[in-house]
């Protein structure tokens, strides 16, 4: 498997086109870490430019950099640079592109930022609309009473 990688890295480059038109030239072995892209290549072998309609150039750049640099140290520092909005968009990108390592890293990062926060805070941070009726909400609050005690102040 390592041999295949080194062979590939010396040859083919691919172009990825982000949703806002920004183009990225990447080596084949980098692009293959994105399983969605891998599937695209498997389907159409001659392809040179692959459209990534769901991901902005800004985030695609971050994703590519992650794939190139990922290791234990890098991952530990990675999430600290991004705000919640970017983290969410990066997670959507990682999910669409099917990059398991990045997805794992981002899920952990997002979880860290909502730990022990109140539901109101979490709704605000994720822009979740509360579509529970007041009665439903009261019922849930009663059923899981312990879960709502002692949360951090917003």
């Amino acid at each position: 498997m390592a041999e295949e990688k080194s062979q590939a890295s010396s040859s083919k480059m691919l172009t990825l086109k982000a949703s806002d038109g920004v183009l990225f030239e990447v080596e084949l072995n980098i692009a293959k870490e994105m399983k969605t892209v891998q599937a695209y290549i498997d389907d159409c072998e001659d392809i040179e430019t692959i459209p990534i309609p769901n991901v902005l150039g800004k985030h695609l750049a971050i994703v590519i950099e992650y794939i190139k640099k990922t290791n234990e140290e890098y991952d530990a520092e990675f999430e600290k640079q991004w705000n919640m909005d970017d983290l969410q968009l990066l997670l959507l990108a990682a999910n669409y592109l099917n990059i398991s390592g990045l997805q794992e890293c981002l899920c952990k990062a997002i979880a860290k930022r909502i730990e022990n926060k109140s539901p109101e805070y979490v709704r605000k941070v994720f822009n979740i609309e509360n579509d529970h009726s007041p009665e439903e909400e009261a019922k849930l609050r009663k059923e899981y009473k312990w879960a709502f005690e002692g949360v951090d102040k917003d």
């Binding site: 969410q88 968009l89 997670l91 959507l92 999910n95 997805q103 794992e104 899920c107 952990k108 997002i110 979880a111 860290k112 909502i114 730990e115 022990n116 926060k117 539901p119 979490v122 709704r123 994720f126 822009n127 979740i128 609309e129 509360n130 579509d131 529970h132 909400e137 849930l140 609050r141 059923e143 899981y144 009473k145 312990w146 879960a147 709502f148 005690e149 002692g150 949360v151 951090d152």
Partner: protein
């Protein structure tokens, strides 16, 4: 009406709820990193989130209060038992309402409100037993030993084929809240265990060896040892990281010698693959022999790269006036010491024994200095000349020999990148040290001096 729908539309365009568009499995994966308390609370976010928490295969329960003042308040008002009851109701509800997927990770911590009565203890029994199974990968239990209650894990916990990480914490002073029946020792079979943490005061050599033999691929061990008789440990050769805290005195060692004394194991030792170790050995009565055992121990850690030593360990190693030989740490790259006193001669002797050292972190614990005399060194330790790149000095008091030592390092550290002086609260002292050290000619042009 128009204004309302306009603002709503603007809100939707500007701030989308993107996260809820992810598939269920991703959302539950996020929740799997949260304490179960927070995870369950997400049920209230919206209808989309109502049942997500039920698909999580990780449970993390703790009866801890978020801050100490709440705990104090509950304790004063005699509300601790009620607290545990509410906690108990929550845990039981989680077990009954979640999807019946097997649990992969479980962490249970009862450290604030446990009482030694049937309703509490039978709850813990039930909760632990309900997660034990072939799917369990990580298990962590922490019980506060204040009520003379001893939880006895069932033998099935020690025969979990897929368990990768096991952590049992239950000790305060001489008390222990978790008890492992010594008859279980031979039955322990944890073929997948990689990480073992045993913080109990009652694990004897026999049981310890039961674990070591039953965990053939163990890589990390963090344990208390009753009597520092490491020679009797049947350490698997896979062990890479070791953390030992051991109270030792002659009586204890003789006591534990009574076990398995007649059998000599062929598979003892195997510490040569340990790369990271943290040692806290303290003696509770007189015993120079212990220092010798310590030196032998370091000899056996022949591959050690990262070493962390507590005050008591340093006291044993450097404290004896009749000086024992230093072990050689041929591969040591990173050394952390908490010094009981500042003695630059023994510190330099130690550095002579670490020829490859790259990182040195020292913390000065006692506010006294034993030797105001600085004896000129005949040779500079090899590590300072060719390997030391980072030194951190915590708790520097500005004593003459501390500063002489720091100056010595700066003057001789040919590859030093950074010297960090940390944790000085008094500004005048900081300024004095800064001035004094800034004027020292540095052997390494790249060297930075920082104060944290």
């Amino acid at each position: 009406m128009a204004a309302e729908s306009n603002s709503k539309r603007r809100r939707i365009v500007a701030e989308e709820d993107r996260i809820s568009s992810l598939p269920d499995c991703v959302l539950s994966h996020i929740l799997s990193f949260l304490p179960t308390k927070t995870s369950v609370a997400t049920s209230i976010l919206s209808n989309r989130w109502r049942h997500i928490w039920k698909h999580v295969s990780v449970l993390d329960f703790s009866d801890d209060f978020r801050d100490e003042s709440l705990f104090e308040k509950a304790r004063r008002n005699n509300k601790l038992f009620e607290h545990f009851q509410n906690f108990s109701v929550f845990v039981n509800r989680v077990f009954s309402l979640r999807m019946p997927y097997p649990i992969e990770k479980m962490s249970l911590s009862c450290v604030k409100s446990l009482y030694n009565i049937e309703s509490c203890t039978s709850s813990i029994d039930t909760w632990v037993c309900s997660v034990i199974g072939p799917h369990l990968k990580e298990f962590s239990l922490e019980i506060d030993p204040i009520q003379k209650y001893q939880f006895e894990p069932p033998i099935t916990l020690f025969t979990c084929t897929n368990l990768v990480s096991l952590s049992l914490i239950g000790e305060t002073g001489m008390l222990s809240s978790i008890y492992i029946d010594p008859r279980f020792a031979e039955e322990i079979r944890l073929p997948s265990l990689n990480y073992l943490k045993l913080h109990m005061n009652n694990v004897d050599i026999h049981t310890m060896n039961g674990f070591l033999v039953g965990c053939p691929i163990l890589e990390t061990l963090d344990t208390r040892l009753f009597g520092f008789n490491y020679k009797k440990l049947r350490v698997p050769s896979t062990l890479k990281r070791l953390k030992i805290s051991s109270c030792s005195c002659l009586e204890m060692d003789l006591y534990s010698l009574g076990f398995d004394d007649l059998n000599t194991f062929s598979d003892v030792g195997n510490l040569q693959n340990v790369v990271k170790a943290s040692l806290d050995v303290f003696r509770c009565s007189d015993g120079c022999y212990l220092a010798n055992i310590l030196v032998n121990f370091f000899d056996d850690l022949s591959g050690i790269k990262h070493l962390s030593l507590s005050i008591s360990t340093i006291k044993l190693l450097l404290g004896d006036p009749v000086h024992l030989r230093f072990p050689e740490f041929r591969h040591l790259l990173h050394l952390e010491l908490i010094l009981p006193w500042f003695n630059q001669n023994s510190l330099l002797s130690l550095l002579h024994a670490c020829p490859m050292l790259q990182v040195l972190i020292i913390q000065n614990d006692k506010k006294e200095s034993t030797s105001p005399e600085w004896t000129a060194q005949s040779t500079v330790p090899n590590c300072i000349l060719s390997h030391l790149t980072y030194i951190q000095f915590k708790g520097c008091e500005g004593f003459p020999d501390e500063l002489l030592f720091a100056e010595y390092i700066l003057q001789n550290g040919l590859v030093l990148n950074k010297m960090s002086i940390a944790d000085i609260s008094v500004d005048i002292l900081k300024y004095y040290i800064l001035r004094r050290l800034s004027n020292v000619p540095r052997a390494s042009r790249l060297c930075q001096l920082t104060f944290d």
